[in-house]
């Protein structure tokens, strides 16, 4: 088998990295996957839970990638598979901790910085993050997945919902965010 230099790993997309990792099991490919998708996944989990749980689920998910690399289907997108596993693990944990219902309500999990002496862009950034946190769990989830680059179909696949349900959640989420950001512009 041809061995691909480590430096090439950085030029490959996650799907290609996963294909190499699936074939070889070499850590350099998993390393590349973590470099590509690690921050995205962690941020998604963090927004949906808290730092401790996000780290825990993040770790669990990457361990699952290692364990289940052979069950990954080459025709699917790695990031969709990754987020799907993470989302399922998060929901299971929230249900286990009986936090599922409370988590569906807005919760100030990521502490915003003080608005005092902030520049306009920084204040707008803060308002965005606050508004994002105030969104209901499922709407925030749909919106974040879309902002992560997933299509409506892929979001429906990750969340195990119908396309129409996803579209509806996205519509409400965007309206809410635009309203919150617009309020302060007036």
């Amino acid at each position: 088998m041809l061995s691909i230099p480590l430096s090439w790993a950085g030029t490959l997309c996650p799907d290609q990295l996963m294909q190499h990792y699936q074939k070889t099991g070499a850590s350099k490919w998993l390393d590349g996957l973590i470099q590509h998708c690690g921050d995205d996944l962690y941020h998604f989990l963090l927004r949906q839970s808290d730092p401790a749980l996000a780290q825990d689920i993040c770790q669990q998910t990457w361990l699952k990638v290692m364990e289940k690399r052979h069950s990954f289907r080459a025709d699917s997108r790695f990031k969709t598979w990754l987020f799907c596993m993470a989302r399922n693990a998060l929901l299971d944990e929230l249900k286990r901790q009986q936090r599922w219902l409370s988590s569906t309500c807005p919760e100030q999990l990521v502490q915003p910085e003080s608005e005092v002496s902030q520049s306009w862009p920084a204040a707008r950034q803060q308002r965005f993050e606050q508004a994002l946190q105030r969104l209901p769990f499922l709407q925030r989830e749909a919106l974040m997945l879309q902002l992560e680059g997933f299509s409506v179909r892929q979001i429906a696949s990750i969340t195990n919902e119908l396309d129409e349900t996803v579209k509806s959640r996205l519509r409400y989420a965007r309206r809410f965010l635009q309203a919150r950001l617009g309020e302060h512009d007036e």
């Binding site: 099991g25 070499a26 850590s27 350099k28 998993l30 390393d31 973590i34 690690g38 921050d39 995205d40 996944l41 962690y42 941020h43 963090l46 927004r47 780290q55 993040c58 770790q59 990457w62 361990l63 290692m66 990521v110 707008r124 950034q125 965005f128 993050e129 994002l132 974040m144 902002l147 409506v152 579209k167 996205l170 519509r171 965007r174 309206r175 965010l177 635009q178």
Partner: protein, 220 residues
């Protein structure tokens, strides 16, 4: 879906990306995962070597089994019977000894092996209940033997088969013998040939004619 201008979408995307920049995956977690990842990299190497070793062992075992099978199989084709068409006989059979396939070793080893297989096959055939005897006329006793049963059957035995039958003392006849009793297995193999006084009466013989002695060229 929601009607959103490209600029609004771009702004949300930009705000989201900035938020992500501020909440990156903790370095310690990343380091821990990479360490686990590196550890998992070592495991497959060990696993791979174990797998390769087991494959080698299994390959060798399979080879030994195959050789063993080739050496020790009852070689159903040791005694071969080929059928041929003829206008003079209802059936023409060529009996020959194929020899055990791919028997390795020296000539002596091969001969010993051949004897073992032959002996086993003969025992198996003789254990079968459907052994029958037929009277036949021995028409040629050169290296190859030819026997006929009226116009019903012509049996051609190769010299190796004759030699093998003689070695096992399954042939009790001499050059002067004209009539023999054939001991045949249900599947047609000749188990023994014995000289007999009994004369085969074919329909033609009954009609007063002697059986025609056919001068046949038999492939050596």
């Amino acid at each position: 879906m929601n009607k959103q201008t490209p600029s609004e979408h771009d702004e949300l995307q930009s705000l989201y990306q900035q938020a992500k920049q501020r909440h990156k995956m903790p370095t310690a977690l990343k380091r821990q995962l990479l360490a686990q990842c590196a550890a998992s990299d070592k495991q497959p190497a060990a696993w791979r070597s174990w797998w390769q070793l087991s494959q080698l062992v299994m390959g060798c075992a399979a080879m030994l089994l195959l050789l063993s099978w080739m050496q020790w199989s009852p070689t159903a084709d040791l005694y071969q019977i080929e059928l041929a068409a003829s206008a003079d006989y209802q059936q023409v059979q060529y009996h020959r000894l194929a020899g055990p396939r791919a028997v390795l070793g020296s000539q002596t080893v091969r001969e010993e092996r051949l004897q073992q297989v032959w002996q086993r096959q003969q025992e198996q055939l003789q254990r079968a209940s459907a052994i029958h005897t037929r009277t036949a006329q021995l028409q040629q006793q050169e290296a190859n033997w030819q026997l006929t049963i009226c116009d019903e059957l012509q049996l051609n035995l190769s010299k190796e088969l004759v030699a093998q039958l003689q070695l096992g003392q399954s042939i009790q006849s001499d050059r002067s013998t004209q009539w023999v009793e054939l001991e045949l297995a249900a599947s047609g193999q000749v188990l023994a040939i014995r000289a007999t006084e009994q004369v085969l009466l074919c329909p033609q013989i009954k009609a007063g004619r002697l059986p025609i002695i056919r001068a046949l060229a038999i492939a050596g």
